[in-house]
Subunit: 381 residues, 4 copies
Amino acid sequence: MMPEIPPHSAASGKQPTAGHPQADLDSSTAPRLNFASDNVTPACPEVMAALIEANQGSVPSYGEDELTGALNQRFSEVFETETVAFPIVTGTAANAVGLSAMTPGWGGVLCDQSAHINVDEGGAPEFLTSGSKLTGLPSPDGRMSPDALQEALALNREKGVLAPPFKVLSLTQATEWGTVYEPAELKVLTATAHGHGLATHMDGARLSNAIAHLNCTPAETTSQAGVDMLVFGGTKNGAMAAEAILFFLNERTRPMVAAMPHLLKRSGHLWSKERFMSAQLLALLKDDLWLRNGRHANAMAQRLLQGLLHHPAAHLPFNVQGNEVFVVLPDPTLARLEKDGYRFYRFPTPPGVPGTLVRFVTSFYTRPQDVDALLAATFAP
Amino acid sequence: MMPEIPPHSAASGKQPTAGHPQADLDSSTAPRLNFASDNVTPACPEVMAALIEANQGSVPSYGEDELTGALNQRFSEVFETETVAFPIVTGTAANAVGLSAMTPGWGGVLCDQSAHINVDEGGAPEFLTSGSKLTGLPSPDGRMSPDALQEALALNREKGVLAPPFKVLSLTQATEWGTVYEPAELKVLTATAHGHGLATHMDGARLSNAIAHLNCTPAETTSQAGVDMLVFGGTKNGAMAAEAILFFLNERTRPMVAAMPHLLKRSGHLWSKERFMSAQLLALLKDDLWLRNGRHANAMAQRLLQGLLHHPAAHLPFNVQGNEVFVVLPDPTLARLEKDGYRFYRFPTPPGVPGTLVRFVTSFYTRPQDVDALLAATFAP
Amino acid sequence: MMPEIPPHSAASGKQPTAGHPQADLDSSTAPRLNFASDNVTPACPEVMAALIEANQGSVPSYGEDELTGALNQRFSEVFETETVAFPIVTGTAANAVGLSAMTPGWGGVLCDQSAHINVDEGGAPEFLTSGSKLTGLPSPDGRMSPDALQEALALNREKGVLAPPFKVLSLTQATEWGTVYEPAELKVLTATAHGHGLATHMDGARLSNAIAHLNCTPAETTSQAGVDMLVFGGTKNGAMAAEAILFFLNERTRPMVAAMPHLLKRSGHLWSKERFMSAQLLALLKDDLWLRNGRHANAMAQRLLQGLLHHPAAHLPFNVQGNEVFVVLPDPTLARLEKDGYRFYRFPTPPGVPGTLVRFVTSFYTRPQDVDALLAATFAP
Amino acid sequence: MMPEIPPHSAASGKQPTAGHPQADLDSSTAPRLNFASDNVTPACPEVMAALIEANQGSVPSYGEDELTGALNQRFSEVFETETVAFPIVTGTAANAVGLSAMTPGWGGVLCDQSAHINVDEGGAPEFLTSGSKLTGLPSPDGRMSPDALQEALALNREKGVLAPPFKVLSLTQATEWGTVYEPAELKVLTATAHGHGLATHMDGARLSNAIAHLNCTPAETTSQAGVDMLVFGGTKNGAMAAEAILFFLNERTRPMVAAMPHLLKRSGHLWSKERFMSAQLLALLKDDLWLRNGRHANAMAQRLLQGLLHHPAAHLPFNVQGNEVFVVLPDPTLARLEKDGYRFYRFPTPPGVPGTLVRFVTSFYTRPQDVDALLAATFAP
C-alpha cells in the first residue's frame, strides 16, 4: 500500500517555495510518464509566446538585434554584477565553447568525476577546447571536496610540463547526483582555484533547482561565490532551445569575452537569427519565470521523494536537493514501470544493493498527479 | 527618372515561375528596407505554425522523436534517392560538421575561392574538421571550371605528403556571386572528383534559388548530379533556425553517416529537443514551401535587376540567377540609400569601375513594393 | 649495515638473463648518480657508430633512403609478422601520432589510469588525435583487469552518443609501475577489445625490459598477443632519439598505415634526413642490442631490489619486474641521497606508509658499482 | 658548348662573400648529383663532432642540460637582442608549433601564397594551431608587397566575425622562389603588421642564404627588422636534424614564450635527450659556421646561374639571390639529366614558356666540380 503523501513537504532542512501553478501547455489530458530527463519537455507557454512575438519584421542578424542587445543588462541585474551574455543553443555547446574561451588547448580542466562535461558530452570539451585534458576527481555525491582540490593542484604543479597545467575549475550546481553546494562551500573552492591562477566555471544546467533548494539569490551562489563564468541553463527549464554563456566581468574574464564571438562562429554556434534565442532567455528571466519553474520542479521531486521514503525496497543513495531523484528499486518494479509507459534512466548500481539505480527527473512540466501516479505504480503489488 | 518595370520579367534566358502570394507575416505595414541578407528575415508563417504544433507533450530527446523520425523518408522523396538527414542549426555548422564526416583532418577540401566555407565561416571548416586545409580556386563568377579542377588535382597528387590530399570537392549552388551551375556542369565536376577518390559536398544554403532558376527537380541538380552530401538550407528560406545535412546513401557516404551522431554531439550540435528543428524542416518541405519561397525570392531579384538595367551608372558584374543582385553603384547613391534606412553589404570593387560593389538580397519576405521603393530610391536625383 | 648482495639475483620467479658487459661509453670515471629516468643517459656506442656511418653522401629525404627502406623487413623478422614501421623522434609523439591513426577524434581510448598517455604526455594524445577522450581505469599495479575492461566497455555502449565510443585499448608493457603482463593476460584483454571493435595499442617504451622479465620472444608479448600497433621504444634503451610506430598488418591496421605519412607530416614529425633515425633503430635491432640492453637494465634493477629488501625502513609496493624500482624510504634518507647528488623522482605516497614513494630507474648505462654505491648511501646511518 | 665560368661571380648587385673551403665529409669521391633540396645532405663535420662530444654521461632530460642552457645566451648574442630559443627537430614543426604560440586557433595567419607554411607542410600549421586559417597573398616572386598587405588587413577587418582575425604576419627569408627581402622592405611590412595588432613570424629555413646575399648582420634582417619570432633553420644548412624557434623578447612575445614548453610537449616535440639538438645548434653558431655554410651555398648557386645565363634555351623567372636556382629548361634536356642521375624538382611552368620549370638547390655540401658537371650535362647536345 502506498502511504498518503503530504503535498510539497521537504526532505531536506530547507522548505522549498511552493511551485507556481503551471498553465496548461497542451490540450492533451494524457498522463505525463516521461521522467527520463527534463529535456523531454516542450517549451513552456511564456517562451512560446515570446518566440511568436519576436517573429516580426526584418532585424539585423548575428546578434545585432534589439532583443540580444537587452540580454547583458538583464543578466547583470539578475546576477548583480556586470555580465556579458552569449546565447547558445545546447548545454554541451555552452559548456564546451565556454571552456574554449577559458583555457588554451594545452591547459587542463579540473572537475568532479561525475561532471556532465566529463562523462556526458561526447568529448565536446576536449574537442572544442582543442585538446584540453579533463581531470575528474572522485567524490561521494558529486561535490568536490576542498582537500581533493588542493591535492590535485599540488600534484599538477609537480608534474610540470608532463601534465597540462590546470587553467579552469569546473563546478556543477546542482550536481549530476542532484545535490547542491552551499555558497560557503563554493567560496572555498573558487578561492583556492583563483589562488592557483585558475578561472572558475559553473555548469548551471540546473541552477534554478539549486537556487530553489538554497532559497538564496541567484548572485549568492554564482557571481558572489567566486564564479567567473556561468552556463545558464534554459532548455531543461522551459526553453525550446536556449542556454547562455555568462561572463561576470573581471580581469580574468575580459580577454575571454573578447574571444567569444570568434569561438562561437568557428564552432558553428553563431545564429544568424539570434533574436529567437534571446527572446527565449528574456522570457525565462521575466518575472523570475526560470526560478518559479525551478521551484516547481523541486517541489515535484520532493513529492516523489516523500513517497519513496515509505517504499520498503527503495534505497536512496543521495540527498534529493534539486529535481533529480536517484533511487535503487527492485528490478521487477522497474520492469513493470517501463511496461506501463514510464521512462527513466538506469545507472551503474553501487555494489551490495539489490535492484538497480535509476533516476527520475521532474520539471516545470510535471504535475502533482503525475508524481502520484508514478508513486502508485511503484507501490503496486 | 526611374523606368516602369514589368513585373516578374526575367533577365536570364529562363522564365522563373512567379512567386506565390506570401501571407502577411506581421501586422506592421512598415517598408522592408533590409536587403543585407536573407537571414534578416523572420520565420515564415508556416514554420511558426509548425513550431507551435510541435510544442505538445513530452517526447524523447536527441532525435528519438517522431518528427525527426519522419525526416529521412521525406527528404528521400524530395531528392529521389535514399537519404539520411541530420538537422543542424546554422549553415556554418552544417557545412563544417558535415565536412568533418567527409575528410579526416589531414585531408584537403577543394572549393571555389569565393566559397562561403572559404571566406565567410570564421574558420569553422578548418576547426571542426581538425585542420583540413581548404584550397580555393579562382574563377570568374563563383563557378569552378573543369580545367581548374583537373589542374588542382594533378598538382595535389604531385605534392605527395607535402600537401594534404584532397578528400572533398565542395560546390556551392547557387554560388556566392548569385550564379547557378547547370546540372551538366555539375556532373562533369563531380565525376572528375569521384574519379580521383574525392567525395562531393554541395553547399545548398540557396539551393531553392538555384532550382527556381533551373526550373528543374531538386534531384536533378543534387543527387542525380553526383552530389554525395548536400547542405539543405532552411534559415535563409523561411526557417527560424534549421538546416539539414543530407547524405545520399552510397558506398562513399555510408561510413560518414555512421560517424555523424558523434560528430554532432562533440561539436555541441545535438539538440535535446530536436523535434523543434525537425518541425521546421518538415514545414518547409510540405507542399514545396521551400521551392515556392525560392521562386518568390528569385522573382523579386529579377524585378530589382530589371530596374537596375535601366540605371545609367549601374554596373552588374554577374548574371543574376538567384536571389542576389550584385551591382556597382555610385557612392553618393549608396550613401543616400543608407541614410534612407536601406541595408546592404559592400564588397571589394573590381578595379577601374567607378563606385562600389554592393549586394542586395531578396527573400520570401520581400514584397514587390519593397523592390519598387528601393529602385525609386536608387534612381532618385 | 648493508648486507652483501649476490650479483644478478632475481626477486621474481624468473631468472633474468645476465646483462651483457657494456662497453665504456665515456672516458669519465665519475659515479653515475642519476636514477631519475632512463632518458638521462647518452646514446650507447653502437648507436653512435651507426650515426657516424650513416653520415655519408646525399640521399633522398623524407624516408626514401635505403636505411629507412630496410626497417620494415627487419622489424617484420623481429616480430614474426608483416610489419610497417614509422620512425619518430619521441615516445610521446609515437604514442599520440600513432593513436591518431587508430581513432577518429570522436572516438575514445581506454587505458590504465597510470598510463603514460594518460598522465605524463602533457595532453599530447588528446591534442594529436583531435580530441579523443582518454578513460583511465584504476588498477592496483598498472595492469588492467579483464573485469574492469568488460565493465568499461558495457558502460560505454550504454552511454550511446553521450560518450565517445571506445576505438582503442591501450596497454603498457612494462607498465608504469614497473610490472609486466603475462602474454596470456594480454591475450584475454586484446581478444575482448577486438570483440568489441577496438584496435589495440601497446606502449612499449620499456618493452625490452618486459621481454627480459618474461624471457620470451618479442613476438610472444606483442604481435602474437593480439597487439595491432606497438610503440617500439628506443630512446630510453640506448638511442639518441628514436622510437618506432609499428603496425602489424591486418584488416584493422591497413587503413591506419595509409594515413600515417600524412599524420606524421602534419604534426611536424616527418624528418627530412630520416636516415638518421632509421640508423639508430637498425643499430638497436642488430645482434639484439635492444634486448641485451634491456636485460642489463633489469639485472641492475634486481641488484638494487635485493639490497633494498634488506632495508629495515623500505617498503616496496610493487613487484619489480622491469627496470624501475618503486620504494618508500624515510624522508631523511631521501634528503641525504639528494645531497649526495643522487637523482630520482618522488610520487604520491600511499596513505599510512611513513616516508615518501620514490622511483629509481636503471638502464643499459647503469653499472653494478653504481647500484652498490646507491645502496650503500641508502643504508648509511 | 658550355662557356667558361668565372668562379664566384655574382648575378645580383651584391658580391657574395666567397664560400669557405668545405672539409671533405665523406671518403667517397662520387659525384654529388642530388640538387633536389638542401635536405638531401649529410650533417656537416662540425655538427657530427659536436654530437659525439655531447654523448658523455648522464644529464638531466627535457632541456635541463647545460648545452640547452647555453642556447639563449648564444642566440641573444647573434641576434643582438634578448632571445629565448626552443630547439625543435623539423622545419615544419618549427613553423607550426611556433605559430601555435602566436595565434589562437580562431585567429588567422597572413603569408605569401608561395610560403612553405601554405603549400608544403601538409597542413601542419592548420593542424597544430588548432585550425588557424592561412591566407596566402599572390605576389610575383614570393615577396609580399606593402599594398597587398594593407588591402588584406582592411578586408579582414571589414569581415568581422565572418573571417578569422589576422593575428600573425608570416614572411619567408629567403623566399620560396629564392629571392630575398631587403631589411627596409621587411621593416615596412612588420611595422604595418604591428600597427594592426599582428605579431610577425619569419620562416628562416634559408636565413643564412639571405644574410649571405644581403651581406648584413643576422640582426639587421631579423630582430632589427621587426621580426618577433624567427625559425632558425639548421637541418638544410648542416645539421643532422635541428631547428630553433627563437622569440625576440618584447611585450608581444613574452606570453608566447610562457606557452612554448607546453606546446612542445603536447605536440610530441619535447626531446628527452635534448642535449643532442642543442649541441647541433651550438656547433652551427660556433665561429659563424652557419653563415659560412650559407655563403658557400650561395656561391655555388651563383656559379650555376652564371653558366645557365649562357644557355640558349634557359629561362630564369626569378632573381637568384639565395641557394635556389629556378630555371625553365627543355624537356629533353631534363630527361637526359635525370637519366644521368641528377635529381631536382619540377614546378608548374608559367604558360607560354616552352619546357618545364625546375629547381636546383645548392648547399654547404655542393662542390664547384659538382656544379660544373651539372652545367656540362645541361649543355650537352
